[in-house]
Amino acid sequence: MTPLDTLQAHSSFFVICLGGALALPLLSFLLCFYVSEKYSWATSVLAPFLMMASTVCAAVVLYQAWNHPAFTWQRVWFSIADHTFTAGIHVNNASALMLFVVTGVSFLVHVYSIGYMAGDTALRRYFAMLGFFTFSMLGIVVSDNLLLIFVFWELVGFSSYMLIGHWNESPAAAEASKRAFIINRVGDAGFLIGLMLVWTHGHTFNIEALRALPLDPAWMTAASLCIFCGVVGKSAQFPLFTWLPDAMEGPTPVSALIHAATMVTAGVFLLGRAHFLFTPAALNVVAITGAITALLGAFAALSQHDIKKVLAYSTMSQLGLMVAAMGAGAPEAALLHLFTHAFFKACLFLSAGSIIHALHQAQHQSHVNFDVQDIRLLGGLRKKLPFTFIMFVVSGSALAGLPLFSGFLSKDAILAALVHWSNTGDAWHWVVLLVVALVSFVTVLYTFRLVWTIFNGEEKSTASLVVSEPPVVMRAPMAVLALASVWIWFSWNPFSFSGWIYNHIGAAKDFHGGFVSMASAAWVLLALAVAYASRGRKLDSRLLAQGFYVDLFSRKAIEQPTLQLADLTHRADKKWIDGFLHATAYAQVIVANLTGWFDRAIVDGFVDGAAGLAKSIGSFTRSFQGGKIQLYIFWAAFAIIIFIIWTLL
């Protein structure tokens, strides 16, 4: 297709807007670097302004591209012999929406950063890299070609490395950025091999062209699994997820950006773009990986004490859900969750940042010092930070998937897709469904545990502090994002995910029986009840506290009118409810420990083990290198004669 064709379908205004949406973040990157040190405050005006312009452009693109034929623009990059490499842009509904979400969230994060990063010594670098980060992500979103995606993929990795290590004076931050960089490279190596396999097999990188090719399933399984390796690294899936919690060392707005709109979502988005490459066998692997990640993340989130780490593990768990949905053959459900997640997770992080910011300011004034991110030291902040509390509850409800919030819709879509998948596929598919159901249950638990611990109860370390809400530049983005976390933007009907987005970002399948929706609503509310019941408990001592609550619960049950059934009910309650709570608590401890152990022994062990294996092979190959020349000659002669004899015989 030549540029001319596309201009007939799309106005030149559209093309200019698309170009603007892409180029303005890059411009922001370049300009921020060239602002002189003296005027570095200017970057905090310049960068958000440029991002706003980019967002407006993206909005126009979204408006014009929505439900139109995909905009494609392609030109020959280079050609060798009979192979032609192309590079180009492909904007369909999903990428237009993603374009808008990325620029929008990035814009809000920019605005928020004005307040959050005020006074930072490396403000120029910060805003420059934010712009570059956004640009790289936009590149992934609009590229029509796997090779180009890989290039931007690497750039995203590079800029996240720079941002996570923004405070590089801190050893932890340097270590975390290194870890993110290296673990991502491991995944990227797989991606690279996948690319080579795709190329050798299909002789094209263009996604639309690949879609049209008849591909050999065995090779495509191998290639798609290799590409999935890249996704595993970038989207923090099992077993390459360890960098994500560590990446919390970066500034909080960066975490918001990484978790909501850029970086980790890139993997899921790529899965959506290249979904057709995945054979059923590969999709099974994808689904299982996603389910494992979701489970590990959810349980790990339960046992964390650092407010940002809880959110990090929750992101990992939500990404696991998206990947599982991809594996179940429902990319539109996964993408829907990607979009809803982008808003509420950004809001959660910004709220967490607001708490951290407010407490830091307060600490600074009254000269006390404690770890403001440790939730064990927090409590009762509802009165001091009412606005942040509301924001946190709204976005937390969306994360938990309570009805009337966006998270409910998208999680419902994933559950419906999984129900459909397990009905139609192999028997073990049920396991994935059950895992996902369990994860959505645990999600409620940890979200509200966080809310209750931070905002309710007694004030602990903060009692003596004078805490004030952050400035309006920080509150406004939170409000916008919280507003975007309610259902109305995604579907008119709060109990049906089948709204304007879901139906138009892919070949939407309507699995929707009211049953799933109702069941999931009931399930989430049950979880909410359990969360409420166990709200005050510390995870460490919950086994001791166990009896009291169960007794309370049982006593209420005994007070039921039917005395004859009382004993039976009592025993049933004892047996079931007690057993259930016990099991939950035990499971939490066990899985949390398991996750910790897993992280240390298997994941680190895996990385170390792979390196160790490679090194031991290396020490073998190197052992012929004793430094003695005659030994060298001997080994060379030996190799040759063995080779000759082997061939002669």
Partner: protein, 493 residues
């Protein structure tokens, strides 16, 4: 039977296709004489040497169109064609870059005239080697490269330099003696020294025998030594560690590419278009797999940057061999592309390793924190390493992509499992190489170090490095330009 006069006449016409080599030969003599006059002025000999290489390069480019029609020179001792011309161009450019690098190094300057004359001799030998089609010329030009290289390896004038020189010499002479022994049997088996002659291939196809296999194996051993492929590689790390860095950069490119050029011709004859009774593709694939594994896995252990590059050079030979092992015309084209990307990437890396070496950083740990102080050199070094690994956006990626494509095509044509294995090993080794190539950048950017230095970014290295980096990025963003040029090369005997 031609008369003597006719032979003289044909010799005289041969000079027409031989101008760059004549320039080089004259240059060697001039440099030696100039060295006697300007004993104390190393700059003048450097300039002279650069001029000689530049002249040779310009003549190559001038005659580029004339090389398009292959012809034999000097009674078919040499073959002038665009394949060898392309390699000679890379070799000349590498020579120029080496001269530029040397001007920054005080060590070789004590014997500067000798140094530059030896450099020019290696270049001349490399020119002759890629053009050779007679076993005698192959041996002579290979020895020309080797003997000069042995001396160049010792130009750091330290104990280690001498040791590297001795090891290089002993290992090299034994392998060239083995190669010569193989050549003598090939001569006996075919009755001719001209391996492009029809009777050479005919004899080998019609009378295959164990001796033919043994002889060819011996002959290949010499080539594998020259391109530093396993199992003839043990000298590489020692020599790379001990020799002056400009010389190492030179060794990593010039003898390797020259050896590769002649190896490509020679194996094509051995394979005889698939008519050979013995499967030489199998041998090449096995050697490539072995080189990749030995080079990459041993490199993981290294603590010294140059030693690490030595093993990396072994591994890169494996990748280069992939292009030959495909036994496809397109494979040769892709090989040339990869060779160009390799040469540029390798020079970037050595240029900056040299730069840091002169600042006192040679072990991997000592690079800790250099990225913060010497930003641009470290970034350029990183790009060089990325290219050697084969990641986008560098020419190394494009090159690797191409040669694996041709390997895949070869697999589809032949269906041999060894080819598939080579592909799998090659891709896996790309991953392994990531771990050690990124170690220096890792130390430079991630680790903290205490360096107090004022840096001047406008240095000679940075200008040259920028040029090379732009080149390597260009090879990624627009490989079509170079590939279009390469595609005009007709590789056939």
């Amino acid at each position: 039977m031609q008369s003597f006069a006719e032979k003289l006449q044909s010799t005289a016409t041969s000079f027409g296709g031989f101008v760059p080599e004549l320039v080089l030969s004259a240059g060697i003599v001039i440099i030696v004489v100039a060295g006697l006059i300007a004993r104390k002025q190393p700059v003048w000999t450097a300039l002279l040497c650069a001029l000689v290489f530049l002249a040779s390069l310009l003549f190559e480019l001038t005659y580029w169109n004339a090389y398009a029609t292959p012809r034999g020179l000097f009674s078919n001792m040499l073959r002038s064609d665009s394949f060898s011309a392309y390699l000679r161009i890379i070799i000349d450019i590498s020579g120029l870059l080496t001269v530029f690098m040397t001007t920054r190094d005080p060590k070789p300057l004590r014997f500067h005239a000798e140094y530059y004359a030896l450099l020019a001799t290696v270049i001349l030998g490399a020119h002759l080697l890629v053009m050779s089609q007679s076993l005698a010329m192959v041996f002579l030009s290979l020895e020309m490269i080797s003997l000069s290289s042995y001396v160049l390896a010792g130009f750091s004038f330290s104990r280690h330099g001498t040791e590297g020189s001795l090891k290089y010499f002993l290992f090299g002479s034994v392998s060239s003696a083995a190669m010569l022994y193989g050549f003598s049997f090939l001569y006996g088996l075919t009755g001719t020294l001209d391996f492009s002659a029809p009777e050479f291939a005919r004899q080998l196809i019609e009378h295959p025998s164990p001796l033919f296999f043994v002889a060819a194996a011996f002959a290949l051993a010499g080539f594998f030594f020259k391109i530093a492929a396993a199992p003839l590689h043990p000298w590489v790390p020692d020599v790379y560690e001990a020799a002056p860095t400009p010389v190492v950069a030179f060794f990593a490119v010039v003898p390797k590419l020259a050896g590769l050029g002649v190896l490509a011709r020679f194996t094509l004859v051995l394979q005889a278009g698939g008519h050979a009774i013995f499967d030489w593709q199998l041998v090449l694939c096995a050697v490539a797999i072995l080189s990749l594994t030995v080079g990459n896995f041993s490199a993981l252990w290294q603590k010294n940057a140059k030693r690490l590059m030595g093993y990396s050079s072994v591994a890169q030979s494996g990748f280069l061999l992939v292009g030959i092992a495909a036994f496809l015309p397109q494979g040769i084209h892709y090989l040339l592309f990869y060779a160009s990307a390799y040469a540029v990437g390798s020079f970037i890396v050595f240029l900056y390793l040299h730069y840091f070496e002169r600042l006192g950083f040679s072990s991997l740990e000592s690079f800790a924190g250099t990225g913060r102080v010497w930003l641009w050199p470290s970034v350029f070094l990183l790009i060089g390493f990325i290219s050697l690994t084969g990641l986008p956006p560098t020419g190394g990626f494009t090159g690797k992509l191409f040669i694996f494509t041709s390997l895949w095509d070869a697999y589809q044509l032949s269906g041999k499992s060894i080819v598939l294995w080579l592909m799998i090993f090659g891709l896996l080794n790309t991953v392994v190489s990531l771990f050690y190539y990124l170690r220096i950048p890792f130390f430079a950017f991630v680790r903290n170090g205490k360096h107090v230095a004022t840096t001047n970014n406008l240095t000679f290295e940075n200008l040259l490095g920028l040029l090379l980096v732009v080149g390597i990025l260009f090879l990624f963003f627009n490989p079509g330009l170079l590939m279009g040029w390469i595609n005009k090369i007709n590789f056939a005997l």
